[in-house]
Symmetry: C2
Subunit: 352 residues, 2 copies
DNA sequence: TTGAAAGCGCTAACAC
DNA sequence: GTGTTAGCGCTTTCAA
């Protein structure tokens, strides 16, 4: 396909003969120097005379030469590319993270290959394999539930990997997490401070690491305050609107009803907000994870904000340090959260 | 770097000697066949005996062989990778588009390289060059204002390119757009139908293609209804909250005040909602581009919804058709919008 | 059905 | 300062 040039497309001016892209050799010949010299010029290596450099530059411009990075990758083993596997790039938290990673990558003259695992083990694995096959210099992965043991050989072989948002199972590498326990604890304490004693936790599916941690924080806050736990006030389910609506209604209409809710992530928050929209007097609400327009709702929603940009940046910076040869011991970074009071979390419990 | 194996990282079990990744040749030797035979097995080519196939498969598994796609790319010229250059991956519309492109790419066993131009010409250009250097099979670009003439040579040379969301200048290729004029016209007509005659347009920066089109639709709707245009009711500025607030206030407090607003994109909508939050009786509002939680605001926001997923899918499908060799004439696809009435756009004008 | 040879475009290693 | 040689890992081409 590279040899036999692709057929001309109609409607292109001067589409006469789509020519083979000029190679480094073509430049060398045209400039009357050796290939290696052109290579030096292209890569800004020292040891080329000013006049030669100038001449080579001109020829490069004339021919419109652009280096073939596949060849370079093959030779050097580094693709000037890193890979990112997350749950779903279209999700706000992760797209912000992606953007932050991209920014750091650019600073290191790298590009970014992205893949969404959609929480599917097989897809994660396939994506990682495809990325490794492309000789990426390093990998940032938000591990799905399951095991990342399949990555062990590559990590041992020296491919830098950083896990983000959730720790891996069966593989050891640098990891950047949110301090979920402390964040949830802080958020729930905030509700307790307003006088709430019956606080419902509306979380995402069971076996999700972040949710486990946030429930733990929720429990810790109750314990700290000497408030008894009640499992009927803890819900863990995939946040489809229907199911959450039923949960919320039952929590609010129980004999000892919840007077406040704490949500486990943005999807749960959305579902709860939808459920509360048409309901009676709304309970207090603190949401884990900030979201757009939170401050425009009535009342504005108090949140425990995470920092997706900070997570992306941190993960990428660690990754590039490893790529640069840092061999210090693996580290686990926990990013702090920030409580942003906006109104919904500052309501006192309704009079019983 | 490929030759001298990277130093072992501590804390890895069995990190004794990070070994060179096995190559196709290693597999061939171990299996006692020729390299080409292994290549055939790996690529599922016909013409290998069942027994041989079986043996090669086993050796591949034993050695943990994974093909080096740089080498393959170098040989074949195709990287099994496409590139996407958008304004900003972290923006909801574009992250949804990215996700849709990714999905189509996966179906074609391709990966996705992403880059954000941030509306910067130089960055767009650099990104495109970096993508082309990586031998991407094709490119989807949301062109920034300026010129894409620099892409002409590569398009002519046969690299498939699809422009998305905005047309390119100085380069011809397939293009997928939203029918902005018709969408805006429809949205404004909706307001006119509620009896509004003074409708403010709050749009993003001048010289943005989509905004130009949406203003055109706005004007067309007014003309259709025989309502005189008034330039004081048209605002085009980067939607920082401060500036938009001033604009909105002046539109609403003018001698002949606006009784309804139409926003030009999501950022403008956010700014307007913020501005309206603390203001007096809110005007009617129709927003171009849907956004999360639009239905949870009070009142819920009526929007002219675009279809980012449809745009990403369409652009990617066209791209892969081109990659597969389709040489038919370039096409321009315009995706339809959908008016979603939710409340804010169905208010009648306040009694003057 | 299988294999040998050549080379994709580049750079590492070493001459000069 | 500059050039020569070899080869990264794969696939293409052609031969057996």
């Amino acid at each position: 396909m590279a040899q036999s040039p692709p057929p001309a497309r109609p409607g292109q001016e001067g589409a006469a003969t789509p020519r083979r892209r000029p190679t480094l050799r073509d430049v060398a010949e045209a400039a009357g120097v050796a290939a290696k010299t052109v290579s030096r010029v292209v890569n800004g290596e020292a040891g080329v005379g000013a006049a030669t450099t100038e001449r080579v530059r001109r020829v490069i411009a004339e021919l419109g030469y652009r280096p073939n990075s596949s060849a370079r990758t093959l030779r050097q083993g580094r693709a000037a590319t890193i890979g990112l596997v997350c749950d779903d790039v279209s999700e706000p938290f992760q797209s912000a993270l992606t953007r932050a990673v991209e920014e750091v990558a650019i600073r290191h003259e790298c590009m970014l290959l992205v893949a969404s695992s959609l929480h599917d083990r097989e897809r994660e694995r396939t994506s990682v394999q495809a990325l490794l096959a492309r000789q990426v210099d390093g990998l940032i992965v938000t591990p799905v539930a399951g095991s990342q043991a399949y990555l062990g050989a590559d990590i041992a072989a020296g491919t830098p990997v950083v896990f983000a948002d959730r720790p891996a199972v069966g593989a050891e590498a640098d990891t950047v997490l949110v301090d979920n326990v402390e964040g949830a604890r802080r958020g729930v304490r905030h509700l307790l401070e307003q006088g709430h004693r019956r606080i419902g936790f509306v979380g995402d599916a069971p076996h999700l690491y972040t949710q486990d941690e946030r429930v733990e924080g929720y429990r810790a806050a109750l314990r700290d305050a000497g408030v008894p736990e009640d499992d009927r006030l803890i819900s863990r389910q995939v946040p489809e609107s229907g199911a959450v609506r039923a949960t919320v209604e039952s929590m609010l209409s129980a004999p000892e009803p919840a007077t406040a809710l704490f949500t486990g992530n943005a999807l749960c928050t959305y579902a709860v907000l939808r459920a509360l929209r048409d309901a009676g007097p709304p309970p207090a609400l603190v949401a884990f994870d900030d979201f757009p327009l939170a401050e425009l709702l009535h009342p504005a929603v108090t949140v425990v904000a995470q920092d997706p940009v900070g997570m992306g940046r941190t993960a990428a910076e660690i990754l590039f340090r490893r790529i640069a040869g840092d061999t210090s011991a693996d580290q686990v970074v926990r990013l702090r959260t920030r409580l942003i009071p906006r109104g919904s979390g500052e309501r006192a419990p309704a009079e019983g």
